[in-house]
């Protein structure tokens, strides 16, 4: 059963995500997760004062159901289909992160220094990171699912520009800003 409980290789994971996208297309929808943030803003009444949120959000109910499924999937993966799964990270990255004070690398699924030790620094990271993700995905008109998977699969130039942007931002964060923040 190791093949279920261990790390799923990329050649299993990637094709399943492609299958999910194609299944949504056959259901008359499109694969794009960050749209849910806009939908939730609209459902909470943001459309009263801002036209960007003034749309029929109920037509996006299918995507909210997909989101609920993703939460359930996360629960099942972590509690039923895993036995304390720990990513095997390359030696270089492990050492890089240990030098920044991340001792949870190689011992935990994610960085406990960010997600479990709640102090002013980690709180600021969570808030600023969330703001950038929410703002950036809507400004770019999509996130990893909408651009890097759906858009590039359809050979759309705007998605290629967005993905180049994702990488510029990610490279700046990992190489220049992480050593300053931590």
């Amino acid at each position: 059963m190791d093949w279920i409980f261990g790390t799923w290789p990329w050649y299993v994971g990637g094709p399943i995500i492609a299958f999910t996208m194609i299944a949504l297309i056959y259901l008359g929808k499109s694969f794009g997760f960050s749209s849910n943030f806009r939908t939730i803003c609209s459902a909470m009444g943001a459309g009263k004062r801002c036209s960007f949120f003034d749309f029929n959000w109920r037509a996006q109910k299918w995507n909210l159901l997909f989101l609920v499924g993703a939460v359930l999937g996360g629960y099942l993966a972590a509690n039923v289909l895993s036995n304390n799964q720990i990513p095997e990270i390359s030696a270089y990255t492990t050492e890089y992160l240990q030098n920044l004070g991340f001792n949870s690398v190689g011992k935990s699924y994610g960085p406990t220094e960010i997600f479990e030790t709640l102090n002013a620094n980690s709180l600021a990271v969570l808030i600023i990171g969330g703001l950038l993700i929410g703002f950036g995905s809507r400004y770019a008109g999509g996130c990893t699912s909408g651009h890097a998977i759906s858009g590039l699969s359809d050979l759309q130039l705007p998605s290629l520009i967005a993905v180049i942007g994702f990488f510029i931002g990610g490279l700046i964060m990992v190489h220049l800003l992480l050593p300053i923040i931590f």
């Binding site: 806009r38 969330g130 890097a148 190489h175």
Partner: protein, 137 residues
Amino acid sequence: MRSILYIVLGVIFGITMYKAETASWFRIVEMFQFQSFHMFGFIGSALVIGLIGIQFIKRKSAKDLDGNPIVIKSKDKSISRYLFGGISFGLGWALIGACPGPIFVLLGAGTYSIIIVILAALTGTWLYGILKDYLPH
């Protein structure tokens, strides 16, 4: 009935993102350091199969399950919005180590502090809606 299908697809998505570790901050940092093929193989294989699937749908003028022709919308032409939006998204993606899907996967997996990220992302989305007309598109 259709509702259950969306939830099931979400469950498959959530399980896969967790098990293939695309919801792990460590994997994202490793990707941006080009130290492992894992994430590139993941996105690349999804792309190749997605590309074949979408080309098939277009060539065959396929119809969806309700019998309507499948139309894949082209995204609006622009450089600035995709570049600037993309860069801010990338900064956040690498800082949190999860893009919007995996954020909710982590919530299910029991990383409850991610709720702060979700609330901040909703605020970020709202800020975009307010500032939209002042930003280069």
